[in-house]
């Protein structure tokens, strides 16, 4: 029997139907005035009705409209935890998620948007795996399952026993987004169950069975072998890039840009100004980045510190892209959105992505 936390953000996604792009801050009151209806209860109900291993689940639900109201009378075993008032906020999400952690849950199911994912990250980090149901408006964090049905399959896979993988949580500035500007930062990572494929008796095993962690180590080995002295390496955010510094026994800002030179860290969590100062000091520079999120952006999402000015100065030929096989398989191409159309055009075309030790993939930037 697995203990599963259940929590929804009752207002998430309500802005979408009335064109408000998110419900951060007090925007949701505007959404209600405009006639927006709650979305997350339906999404959670859809997940619950698609679960197969009900007998092996015991739910710890958030109270009232944050969970219990939706799960009750559906034949599930559950308890509630915590209390909420009439209006709910991010504080409730964080507080109740922490209480669930104290109740020793095995998995947390939550439904909401990018903001909810950030709250869950703040509350539980990588301590427990999560299954994230998207609330209906376009999500940018790759932690979300494709839809409630896919989320139900992830829950069932977890019950049957599966490993987990880290997925990105992005911080989207909703004020900018409402103005048509996508301003995003990598906020953190959550662990999600890795859906195991049902084994089919093929003629020979067609699966490589390499875990994402092993894949990242291979990529790091490849990069380190190709690293040279007297070159400044600007390392972008993310766990794939961090695997390189892990292998070098160097610290790395997971969500920011660091610089290394001759096996030493010479820049930490750099902003544009800091990077430009380093570019003045060092002649030979390479950038190492990994695509962020499910859409394959290598610049313009999660690494805005690498501005068009910096990218132009370093040059396309000095940019190395690293990504796990798992991340690349769903991407028909890579994308850029630096904010400068000339730089975007300069980056376009065929490129090589390092996907393993001595293993590269030729793909296109911007399709």
């Amino acid at each position: 029997m697995k203990k599963i936390g259940l929590l929804i953000n009752p207002i998430a996604g309500m802005g979408g139907s009335v064109g408000l792009k998110g419900t951060d801050g007090h925007i949701y009151k505007k959404a209600i005035k405009m006639g927006a209806q709650p979305i997350t209860p339906k999404r959670l109900s859809e997940l619950l009705s698609n679960l197969e291993n009900k007998e092996e689940m015991f739910f710890i639900a958030a109270p009232g409209k944050m969970g219990a109201d939706i799960i009750k009378n559906k034949g599930f075993k559950f308890n509630t935890v915590g209390e909420i008032g009439k209006d709910t906020s991010a504080k409730d999400t964080k507080r109740i998620a922490k209480m669930m952690l104290e109740k020793n849950i095995d998995l947390l199911i939550f439904c909401g948007g990018d903001g909810t994912a950030r709250d869950i990250f703040d509350a539980i980090g990588l301590k427990k795996p999560v299954v994230a149901i998207p609330s209906g408006v376009k999500m940018f964090s790759s932690v979300f399952a494709l839809n409630p049905r896919a989320a139900a399959e992830m829950v069932d896979a977890f019950i049957k026993g599966t490993d987990t993988q880290e997925k990105e949580v992005l911080d989207i500035n909703e004020d900018s987004f409402r103005k048509g500007i996508l301003d995003s930062k990598l906020y953190g990572y959550l662990k999600v169950p890795n859906i195991k494929r049902l084994l089919q008796s093929g003629k020979i095993g067609s699966k490589i069975n390499k875990t994402a962690a092993e894949n990242k180590v291979e990529i790091a080995d490849h990069i380190i072998e190709s690293m040279k002295n007297d070159i400044l390496y600007l390392l972008g955010p993310g766990t794939t890039v961090k695997a390189i510094t892990d292998a070098l026994n160097l610290p790395k800002t997971l969500l920011g840009i660091d610089a290394i030179y001759n096996n030493k860290r010479v820049g930490e969590d750099l902003n544009e100004e800091g990077i430009l100062r380093l570019l003045d000091k060092y002649n030979n520079v390479e950038i190492i980045v990994s695509p962020i999120g499910g859409q394959g952006f290598i610049f313009g999402r999660g690494n805005k510190q690498l501005t068009p000015k910096i990218i132009s100065k370093v040059g396309k030929e000095n940019i190395k892209i690293v990504a796990t096989v798992d991340k690349m398989k769903g991407l028909m191409c890579l994308r850029v959105d630096t904010g400068d159309i000339e730089v975007d055009n300069m980056l376009k075309g065929y490129t090589k992505v390092i996907i393993g030790y001595k293993e590269e993939l030729i793909t296109q930037i911007e399709c």
Binding site: L198, I204, I355, E359, L361, I362
Partner: protein, 324 residues
């Protein structure tokens, strides 16, 4: 009901003319395969391909030949393959110590353009492409591009034509001009002899010499099956016609369901269903299709053309899944 549409096998066994001699051959199972029978088979392959007998290498299944080819020529060469491609090619290439360069195929064409890799072949390179490609069913390169690649002496090029009888497109006529070309084929697909496992490579002398010493004993029943298959080509052509008809019918039906299908020059179809983990859902219904979630994503499946009954069963359930 349980149906297998996952291995690109022929949907029915070969006719009596092939099966009966195979049954008789079992009587001599205590003996090694007579050399005269091997020579007879090579002669028949030569007649069938219009390639001289001394340019043919025989083996049990083309899988073995592909592996041997990659291992023999990988040293000091980078390897270029398509992505996705026949999984055996990827797995074997990854087991060598050579740098591996994959070329991403993009829907809907799933083709390779010279522009993607022409700058990469200025050093010793082995290219292994399946044409048509598995699992997409597409033709990767046209003849002119293949010629351009072969003109580069850095390159040694293996083309897997496992599905040639379906595509009817082959580059065997380039063998005369290019000693750096090898073509591998099988009798497992269009001839319906998957369980017998006979494959062959067509190549020039320089490549063939590297295979000396790797010859293996071919099972007698397999050799008898292959000989009789090549003496009775009409059944193979008839089967292919039946497959083409069913293929058209399936494509028309699933297209109406909103499933994206891609042009196929093979006995299988790549489908983009829009349903995540579709192959797992089909397995629960007793329908086995090839799960290519590891190569593309879980909404894609590769479906072999089966019997009319099997295809109907598949169509009825895929329709239910698209509606649910």
């Amino acid at each position: 009901m349980r149906i297998r549409l996952d291995k690109n096998e022929m949907f029915k066994p070969p006719p009596k003319e092939i099966i009966d001699p195979v049954k008789e051959s079992i009587e001599n199972i205590n003996r090694y395969t007579p050399q005269v029978k091997i020579e007879e088979l090579i002669g028949l392959i030569s007649d069938y391909t219009k390639i001289p007998q001394d340019s043919i290498i025989l083996s049990s299944a083309s899988d073995i030949l592909i592996k041997e080819f990659i291992y023999l020529f990988a040293r000091n060469r980078q390897i270029i393959i398509a992505d996705p491609t026949f999984f055996l090619v990827t797995n074997t290439a990854q087991k060598t110590s050579s740098p591996l360069l994959k070329i991403r195929l993009r829907e809907p064409e799933f083709k390779i353009s010279l522009e993607q890799f022409i700058d990469e072949i200025n050093k010793p390179t082995m290219i292994v492409f399946d044409n048509p490609n598995n699992p997409t069913g597409s033709l990767l390169l046209n003849k002119k591009d293949v010629q351009t690649v072969l003109e580069n002496e850095n390159v040694i090029f293996l083309i897997d034509e496992a599905y040639f009888e379906f595509s009817k497109i082959s580059y065997v006529n380039l063998l005369n001009d290019f000693p750096n070309l090898a073509i591998v084929r099988t009798l497992s697909k269009s001839f319906g002899l998957a369980g017998s496992g006979i494959g062959y490579i067509l190549c020039g002398d320089v490549i063939k010499r590297r295979f000396i010493g790797l010859e293996t004993m071919l099972p007698y029943p397999s050799v008898v099956a292959a000989i009789n298959a090549l003496q009775n080509l009409d059944y193979m052509k008839k089967y292919i016609n039946e497959i083409e008809k069913e293929k058209k019918r399936i494509i028309t039906s699933v297209s109406k369901m909103g499933i994206m299908v891609f042009p196929s020059y093979t006995n299988f179809i790549l489908m983009k269903t829009g349903i995540q983990n579709i192959s797992q859902n089909l397995v629960k219904l007793g329908i086995y299709v090839h799960d290519i979630s590891e190569q593309l994503s879980s909404e894609y499946i590769r479906v072999t053309i089966g019997t009319e009954k099997e295809n109907n069963y598949f169509l009825s359930y895929i329709e239910k899944l698209t509606k649910s």
